[in-house]
């Protein structure tokens, strides 16, 4: 890529200052909270805590409620992502590759369902959940988290499937490859980055989901984010800090896995209706 304005007269100090401010704005809160996880105590206006300790970590790991929440999150989110894949990927393929009656309406319908305020939906869904006996059940929590993943799991892979060049597939077919081989080695492989991004985004959506999970899960089922709500109100800040670090680990791992594709435009591509 040619950079047309390398010489553009932006003062270097200005750019560096901007980077510095953005770094403080974005990373500052995370570091500040993270440091508290190791602090004995921290009194305003001291720049340093009164000492460092690991005892908040053992407090978290020895608390059975917190451990259960961690376990629940690590079980529920992968299940949600798997179900979402099974339900949505065929639909994404159809939306990306086939023209069927109502295709556009299908994509827009998913979008408008997404623009109803989540908190209002969770208030409205209680009636249905009581009728179906889903309150405080594992299935109920899975479904509520599934709802937030559908838009990612259909839109992003649909764009990825649509972008696979048809002449590649046709050439492979002409060379004698079976339909299944073509799908597996060409279509699926080329669409893989998009699917990967969809998986990451869906996992994060499910793993992050707190409000709906709290409404239909509590007090029987707590996940890490819903536990966090009660933590910040009932425990010292250091415990919440430890828990935050634990809660961020899966996300950071996924960042490493999919950063290239997400920044490469797979996410952006998925949100342009075609």
């Amino acid at each position: 890529m040619v950079k047309a304005f390398k010489s553009l007269n932006l003062s270097r100090i200005g750019v560096n200052l901007f980077i510095g401010l953005l770094a403080v704005f974005i990373l500052g809160p995370l570091f500040w909270l993270g440091l508290h996880a190791f602090a004995v105590d921290w009194h305003y206006p001291n720049l340093y805590p009164s000492g460092f300790t690991m005892r908040w970590w053992s407090k978290v790991f020895l608390d059975s409620a917190l451990a259960t929440a961690i376990k629940n999150s690590l079980v529920i989110s992968p299940i949600v992502v798997l179900i979402s894949m099974v339900i949505c990927l065929p639909a994404a393929y159809a939306a990306g590759r086939m023209n069927f009656f109502g295709r556009k309406a299908f994509m827009i319908g998913l979008f408008s369902a997404n623009s109803f305020p989540k908190i209002g939906l969770f208030a409205a869904i209680a009636t249905l959940y009581y009728a179906l006996n889903l309150m405080e059940t594992f299935a109920g929590v899975v479904i509520i988290q599934l709802l937030g993943t559908i838009i990612y799991m259909t839109w992003i892979p649909a764009a990825a499937f649509a972008a696979v060049p048809k002449n590649l597939e046709e050439a492979a077919r002409d060379a004698g490859a079976s339909k299944f081989t073509v799908f597996r080695t060409i279509t699926l492989r080329l669409a893989m980055p998009g699917i990967l991004v969809a998986i990451v985004m869906s996992f994060l959506a499910s793993f992050d989901e707190a409000q709906g999970t709290y409404l239909v899960g509590a007090p029987g089922i707590f996940t890490m984010p819903t536990e966090m709500y009660s933590l910040v109100q009932n425990y010292p800040i250091q415990v919440a800090a430890v828990f935050s670090i634990l809660l961020a680990i899966p996300s950071v791992l996924l960042l490493g896995l999919a950063r290239k594709h997400i920044m490469g435009g797979q996410l952006a591509e998925g949100f342009q209706l075609k």
């Binding site: 040619v2 047309a4 304005f5 750019v15 953005l22 704005f25 990373l27 500052g28 809160p29 995370l30 909270l33 508290h36 921290w42 009194h43 206006p45 339900i87 065929p90 639909a91 393929y93 159809a94 086939m98 009656f101 295709r103 556009k104 827009i108 319908g109 998913l110 408008s112 623009s115 109803f116 305020p117 908190i119 209002g120 939906l121 208030a123 869904i125 009636t127 249905l128 009581y130 509520i144 060049p165 002449n167 339909k179 994060l204 793993f207 992050d208 409000q211 966090m228 709500y229 935050s244 961020a248 996300s251 997400i262 435009g265 996410l267 952006a268 591509e269 949100f271 342009q272 209706l273």
Partner: protein
């Protein structure tokens, strides 16, 4: 209309050999559609009837438990609960706070994303990569954590006040003020806007920029007359998703905002839970939905327009 529905396959044909007819496509798209219809469409529909005073059938139990329930007095229902909400002074405060925060945060997010995206497109280099990477970070931090981290950062004994007190400056406590909501929503909304806008700007061919430059156009003119118009669709998508997300947000205003007035997302939850006024709570949800739908229409229209234009090219 058919041309709008077309996939971007080069041959312009709808189906390749061996791929199924339209019925198969419809069939494959049914499972997510059914889930959304049953678990989003149906509750919203039942909620709508309840907000209009239909208190029998599925709404019987909630109508018994809830307080200040209006029962329908016409065949189509009643606007009693809507009247309650519109004349509630607390609601008006919440509504204006919600709108102000949404407009202000969306503007800030777009300005930030545009300046970073333009810097990356026109100048590039390592610094641009650092800026983009920094702005993507919030995507990978669960909202509960970001809200709590920002809460502690700007609180009375937080970092900002600590740092400035050592310089002899009394930095204001932002936590539990509307400013903190704006900070939090900008923080969480930035990644999506950056991804949309920067990929839109990157897709603009170099040749266009180069030739404009050769004709003597200034960087400013190129930005205003070429880059922004050509990236209009991704910018509108970023704007609509950001504003719809902020309108209905709960976690950020819940942790960071003042108790009163608060954003409608929090008030919906308060009315449903603490105040036990489910009908009024749903009315607010529908008001938020109405505003969001207005934004959604802009999004869909912009997409259809750009699909039409790219078809013509």
């Amino acid at each position: 209309m058919i041309s709008l529905l077309r996939n971007k396959n080069e041959e312009g044909s709808f189906t390749t050999k061996g791929e199924g007819p339209s019925l198969l496509g419809l069939g494959l798209s049914l499972p997510p559609l059914l889930i959304v219809l049953v678990f989003v469409g149906l509750p919203i529909f039942i909620g709508l009837t309840f907000s209009l005073g239909f208190t029998t059938g599925p709404n019987r139990v909630i109508a018994i438990i809830g307080q200040q329930i209006h029962k329908k007095n016409h065949w189509w229902g009643t606007f009693g609960a809507y009247n309650d909400v519109i004349h509630d002074s607390r609601f008006l405060g919440d509504l204006s706070l919600t709108i102000v925060v949404t407009v202000l945060s969306t503007t800030l997010v777009l300005l930030l994303a545009l300046s970073i995206g333009l810097y990356q497109r026109l100048i590039g280099g390592r610094k641009a990569a650092v800026l983009v990477t920094l702005s993507i970070v919030p995507l990978f931090v669960p909202v509960v954590i970001s809200a709590w981290a920002i809460h502690t950062f700007y609180s009375g004994d937080g970092f900002m006040r600590t740092l400035f007190s050592h310089m002899g400056i009394n930095f204001p406590t932002l936590t539990s003020t509307p400013s903190a909501i704006v900070i939090g929503t900008v923080w969480t909304s930035l990644p999506f806007a950056i991804l949309m806008i920067s990929s839109g700007l990157q897709a603009i061919p170099d040749a266009l920029i180069e030739s404009a430059k050769d004709c003597g156009a200034s960087a400013f003119r190129i930005v205003v007359n070429i880059l922004i118009p050509l990236a209009k669709t991704p910018i509108i998508i970023a704007a609509s998703f950001t504003s719809i997300g902020i309108l209905g947000s709960f976690t950020i205003p819940f942790f960071l905002g003042p108790n009163q007035p608060t954003m409608l997302g929090v008030e919906i939850s308060n009315f449903f839970g603490s105040y036990n006024r489910p009908q009024q709570s749903l009315v607010m949800a529908f008001i938020v939905f109405a505003i969001a739908s207005g934004i959604a229409v802009a999004y869909v229209r912009s997409n259809i327009k750009s699909a039409r234009e790219s078809d013509r090219l």
